[in-house]
Subunit: 484 residues, 2 copies
């Protein structure tokens, strides 16, 4: 019986006495945890790894490194090329056994150019605008009267035709004011906002509009516009400029419209769609000691939007996943199975790197035993959701016990597909797990100039990293088939 | 005895029953308040005024109006001229009995122009920079190596000479990280920051620097630079460009410097000092019914910096002070004494409008019976400090009892001079009172593009306005000499 228990508390107390552990270990409870599947020694090692990770700043240092030494890295730009070189060098520096890149061709490139805008009447104001990804430019000043739509549905409700001729459609939907349905998360408000961001320009063009502007999809009220989306024009529909304005400027326009006066905006975007560009997925492997051809995969995306330095989106993912694997790599011996960190290219323009990865690795998909991705900032995880075969749910529950002391709850849903890029592999059949995070900050900063290193909360990053290190160490040692 | 009491509670209960009062009136306590000086009827009226003000959105509407219909209004700009016209019209609309302007000549004007900057090496990054007020331009790209100073004192500790030749001095002092001495407020951290903002360019020039940049003086970590100061070059010292960078970019540069590599910045400011300009103090008066030649003065400044729309700095002051007087004006009869709202010109460049006002009104200073100013945002007041003659402290204490239910404490200091512009008059001898406010938000937004209407918290503005309306109604009715 004792063999099947982890003396989690006993270890904690001993380490605490030795000054090695933070007091929160006590959250684990006062009694040893029972395990039916995880051997005691393995669980003990996982506890030690978890506790070491909580004291290790590597994940934060990695975010500091990529945001300082690289900065913005949209696919196809000089910054993206520097990011690829940075990632290869960083994997090597951290002791990964194998490091390689896989090219990701991207059909179009894009030059952001400059964006400027002003309200011409009834009251002149400069406003803050940014082009949405892969928008065409305005080719000089574009001047038009604003027609407001509460959301994408309201725009789509207008019959196709020419009713918006010469006008600028303005979708004023506010993610900040969206109240999710009971049980739903903030993400549902994001999803609603991204409809106009991703397809508003097509809908507006079909109704004759000269351009579309949207209130930024975010939860903040800072005077930044949130960019987003990426090449989404429709064949046969006029390509009109698409831009986001800052929340305060959206409110300003709405307050002018309330006065019953026509609001006229002048905007100028010098953005431009170009020919094909190339990105690369960068992969680092800690090679398994005995079953090296099967691997666990930790994902994040290497690219970022081009206005901030990509700290929370997705430097936090890069930092936590690289660090989780590196911390496992610092243990006495490599785990049985390999652990791969996949840094995807071109996530921001529609999971392009992940799709390229799947196409190139389709035959090896069965060797991807379990995957997870961090693409929701550096906040702490609060809930673990598995997405595995029924037969292995029980082992997932046991693995969860080792991260429960980090304040992470268990969900019975077992419907995880893998977040973001990893969802491409998850939907193709790869077993996955998701750690849902506190992403309250995320939607305040992401896709804006304000996504910078200072937004990272180091303690939270250490918690997040510790959770992934613990889970993936266990998954790499256990002889479990997670397949559905 | 009853005559000398205000049945505050009794009134409250009756009004509450009638659906007129918010429940917080009960904060006033369960027993009638004793007064030695304030007659009961007057106190009763003051309570009614206070409660009405708490339900009245006028102060917020005024901020919405000036930020929407005018926006940025730096002295000498088109926006400032529109603000003057707006203020005159608004006073009239609100029923002020007399409205006039007093011209304020300003020795120099200034064109902000554009500011752009990038880190050239060791890692290229665009950074967010703004010119400090009245900085000269760079006349093309200015490229220099960064030399960091922890604060203004560290810069001044360098012997004058040419040790910074060709370099860009960088004062990295962070108001956000400043810990005030026990008992001191956040303002002490602001004061420390404004040393480099106001005089850093002179100190740096005396040591040969080609330019100076400072970490923005603010408590936020948004990617905005806070502008500030205003014409401060010294005769005989080279005029070098002076700019602020955003906190995240200051941290970025510091992180690069930590790597031991030279950091080279390229900056380009097209700002320009021009010839003289004109502003105007705009004054509205609710004329007293019997002692109209003596007046209470409520102050705020009409000008703003030019990047946001001047909502918290100082739209909140304009809104609360105009509304407080207007609410008094809506009472059955005018108070005995006059109440004047003074909207000062050119505060942001060094209290220029207030000095002009004092010069023009020196002979009437004795008629300014009591003054106060709001220039700390729209937050609630938490402490009342008088600055009056000993003989009238007791009446101030009684006046305070009428605003105590708003959550405002009394301070015995009696050393108030009047905030901001009003301090010019206070230091010249005018009796004053200060309501210290919660200004936590203020230093996050002020002097940035982010100072916009959405930052106003309506409920807080109503509390603030109610306090001033109550106090100045009482002061206008009481036959008290507040002089020191």
């Amino acid at each position: 019986m004792l063999k099947m228990k982890t003396a989690g508390h006993t270890i904690s107390m001993a380490l605490l006495a030795a000054g090695c552990l933070l007091p929160f270990v006590a959250i684990g409870g006062d009694t040893p945890v029972d395990y039916d599947i995880i051997p005691r020694e393995l669980a003990d090692n996982a506890v030690l790894l978890r506790e070491r990770a909580l004291l290790d700043n590597l994940s934060v240092d990695i975010v500091e490194s990529i945001t300082t030494e690289v900065g913005p890295r949209r696919v196809g730009t000089e910054g993206d090329r520097r990011a690829i070189a940075w990632a290869e060098a960083k994997f090597r520096e951290l002791g990964f056994d194998r490091v390689w890149t896989e090219e990701v061709p991207v059909e179009y490139g894009w030059i952001r150019g400059e964006a400027s805008a002003e309200i011409v009447s009834p009251y002149p104001h400069n406003i803050v605008m940014t082009a949405l990804g892969y928008s065409v430019g305005t080719h000089g000043d574009l001047v038009g009267e604003i027609v407001e739509f509460a959301d994408f549905e309201a725009l789509e409700a207008v019959p196709e035709g020419d009713s918006l001729n010469g006008k600028i459609a303005f979708v004023s939907y506010s993610m900040a004011d969206f109240v999710p349905a009971p049980g739903a998360s903030r993400m549902s408000g994001y999803g609603k906002g991204t409809q106009a961001r991703g397809r508003g320009h097509v809908a507006a063009a079909k109704r004759g509009a000269a351009a579309i502007i949207i209130r930024s999809v975010g939860t903040d009220n800072n005077r930044y516009a949130h960019t987003g989306s990426g090449y989404g024009y429709e064949e046969g529909v006029k390509k009109i400029p698409a831009a986001a304005i800052s929340p305060p400027d959206a409110i300003l326009i709405q307050n002018m419209l309330k006065r019953g006066k026509p609001v006229v905006v002048k905007m100028n975007l010098t953005s431009e769609i170009t020919g094909p560009v190339k990105g690369a997925n960068v992969i680092g492997e800690m090679t398994g000691r005995s079953d090296s051809d099967n691997y666990l995969v930790l994902g994040a995306h290497l690219d970022s939007w081009d206005e901030g330095t990509g700290a929370i989106d997705d430097g936090a993912g890069v930092g936590s996943m690289m660090a989780a694997a590196a911390l496992i790599g610092q243990m006495e011996q490599r785990p049985r199975r390999s652990i791969r960190v996949l840094l995807f290219a071109a996530e921001e323009i529609g999971l392009v790197g992940a799709q390229a990865y799947l196409a190139a690795n389709k035959e090896n998909l069965d060797r991807h035993l379990l995957g997870a991705e961090v693409d929701g900032g550096g906040g702490r995880a609060h809930t673990m959701i598995s997405g595995v075969g029924e037969a292995s749910v029980q082992v997932m529950r046991e693995m969860h016990k080792l991260i429960a002391p980090l304040g992470i709850a268990w969900s019975d849903a077992n419907d995880a597909n893998g977040a973001s890029d990893m969802g491409v592999l998850g939907r193709a059949g790869m077993p996955a797990l998701n750690l849902q995070q506190n992403s309250n900050d995320y939607f305040m900063y992401h896709h804006t100039p304000n996504d910078t290193f200072d937004k990272i909360i180091p303690e939270d990053m250490r918690y997040l990293t510790a959770a992934y290190a613990t889970l993936f160490y266990l998954a790499a040692e256990l002889d479990v088939d997670f397949r559905k």
